[in-house]
Symmetry: C2
Subunit: 333 residues, 2 copies
């Protein structure tokens, strides 16, 4: 294992320290936790608080999306490990400014359980909490750590759209209703070129031959649906869009947002080439692409590969919310 | 070679297409070139135009820094190959809005020659052009493609500071003077954990053993100054800061901006851990760190490793310019 780290047991703590020290105008850490919360001048504005989190190793997810117009807090677990209920609760408490807190949970059994437990603690403290479980990965039903479908990169669209709504004053019921409208319209599927190495394990979670790729791998290296010989970017785009098309049933007049997400070790050059092929293919389907985003947004440590997220924009407000200005470390343009 | 590409000869053209199609609100391509220029509503504002560029493979450099408050244009050469004078000239012509154009050139012989030739063409067309050559890499004197020191990640601070000055109305002489003040205060040095594979070559430009790193490698895989067994992040931070310290002579009261730049395949987790160690070390030196940035800003395809840039902030305006709001694909927070 060749990584720029110190002790494998300290990677998350040191990473969180590095992050909050690099961007103190945006985030800070809650004492004695790995919960990263807003640190801007408007942090205590009386809006619905948005809290997400999960295992580390997916950076910039989720702490990179904490800030004005997006998340109130992100709780970082150990690598590929759910954060504990007490830390999630600390984040909920900090994010509550009188209007309650909404939790955005990726669909992994550990996350769902621990966020639910934190919600129970909040209930006892009379903090109103609602939540959504994001299950955007269409690759497989059920998986190593998941009942149903996994939650992956499409989650950042949930952060963004709910964040804009909260910042504009939506109340907890409105956020909850919006969340349950958008999540069924967000679908993701990925392809891996290599596996990720968890520091404490020291070797890749799965291996592929030099000329082999795997479709549908999860962000913790969960098995996908098919291995193949290396294909062209065009063929990969075609394969993933065929799967997405069987969910969305592409037709002219539909509007989409498209996210190409690098898994960690894949150069931006390849991600742009892949996006070009995706857009060419979607042109043929006659759908309208109104919003696009390319980069490393939800990674899997040093995994090579990309995921492709489509969101069907059935409501013009959703697009406005995607375009709403934010101040975060990682959302970008 | 395992990459998400189609034909190796088309990687730059397809990448540029993917980029401009993904962010049409920020950039467009000049017809029949790989020059990426501003496409926002204010693109024709009468300010000094800023043009940069160089070989591709360093994404998001430079096109990711085109936009309001930063570059007017970026010219993309083939992978690790200088852009041609005619394409650079096309960018200069587009960037000139009556106040002249300033060129930001990384110190590689091919870039220097081709940007100079483009300047000569512009002279014949009576477009006032001045320029600076950025040579921030302190690792070695002279290199495979360079007389003197190489130009690397510190170049993005030059883009940012000059971009803010231009946007605020500085004239060509003022931009030129500012450029020559800041560049000597920007120093970079890196460490590689693995080599990069140019698509047309198909294998890494250099290789390191499984437990080996190399200090001072260039962004095209130019040799560094020492190979070592894998070290801790703390030790790497110490080594690079020792080299930088021998340039800056750290002492209390000095103010710095710090950039930790991922080389392409290095996860953000490792970059934050490394930044944490850098900041700990700089604390001991008693200097003040006023600005920090972590991420993949000037990469070398799929190279693993990081570079560390320090800029001595001798003038409070430089910090203000770093913080000045921009609308680009890649500058971020």
């Amino acid at each position: 294992m060749k990584k720029i780290i110190n002790n494998v047991d300290d990677v998350v703590a040191e990473m969180v320290d590095g992050m909050v020290r690099s961007y103190p105008q945006i985030v800070k850490k809650l004492p004695d936790t790995e919960a990263i919360v807003r640190n801007d001048a408007d942090r205590d504005k009386s809006i619905v608080g948005l809290v997400s989190g999960g295992g580390s190793g997916h950076e910039p997810t989720h702490a990179g999306y904490v800030g004005q117009g997006m998340l109130s807090a992100a709780v970082a677990g150990q690598v590929f490990t759910s954060p504990t209920p007490d830390q999630i609760y600390a984040a909920i408490k900090d994010a509550n400014h009188g209007k309650g807190v909404f939790l955005i949970i990726k669909n992994y059994s550990g996350d769902v359980m621990n966020f639910d437990m934190a919600k129970d603690i909040a209930d006892m403290d009379d903090i109103p909490v609602k939540s959504i479980v994001v299950d955007d990965d269409i690759a497989v039903e059920n998986s190593t750590y998941t009942q149903g479908r996994r939650g992956v990169a499409g989650t950042i669209f949930v952060h963004k759209i709910l964040g804009a709504a909260a910042d504009q004053g939506a109340d907890l019921d409105q956020i909850d209703s919006l969340a349950h409208q958008i999540v069924p319209n967000i679908k993701t599927i990925g392809v891996a070129l290599s596996g990720a190495t968890v520091p404490a394990v020291g070797k890749p979670g799965f291996t592929l031959a030099d000329d082999e790729i795997e479709y549908g791998v999860g962000i913790h290296g969960e098995p996908g649906y098919r291995k193949e010989k290396l294909q062209s970017s065009k063929d990969m785009a075609h394969e993933l869009l065929e799967k997405l098309g069987s969910e969305f049933h592409f037709e002219a007049g539909q509007h989409y947002a498209v996210l190409v997400n690098g898994m960690g070790a894949t150069p931006l050059m390849e991600q742009y080439i892949f996006m070009n092929d995706v857009l060419n293919e979607l042109d043929k389907d006659g759908v309208s692409v109104d919003y696009t985003k390319v980069g490393n947004f939800m990674t899997s440590l040093d995994m090579a590969g990309v995921s492709l997220t489509l969101m069907k924009l059935d409501d013009a407000h959703w697009l406005q919310n995607l375009q709403y200005p934010v101040k975060t470390i990682a959302w970008g343009a």
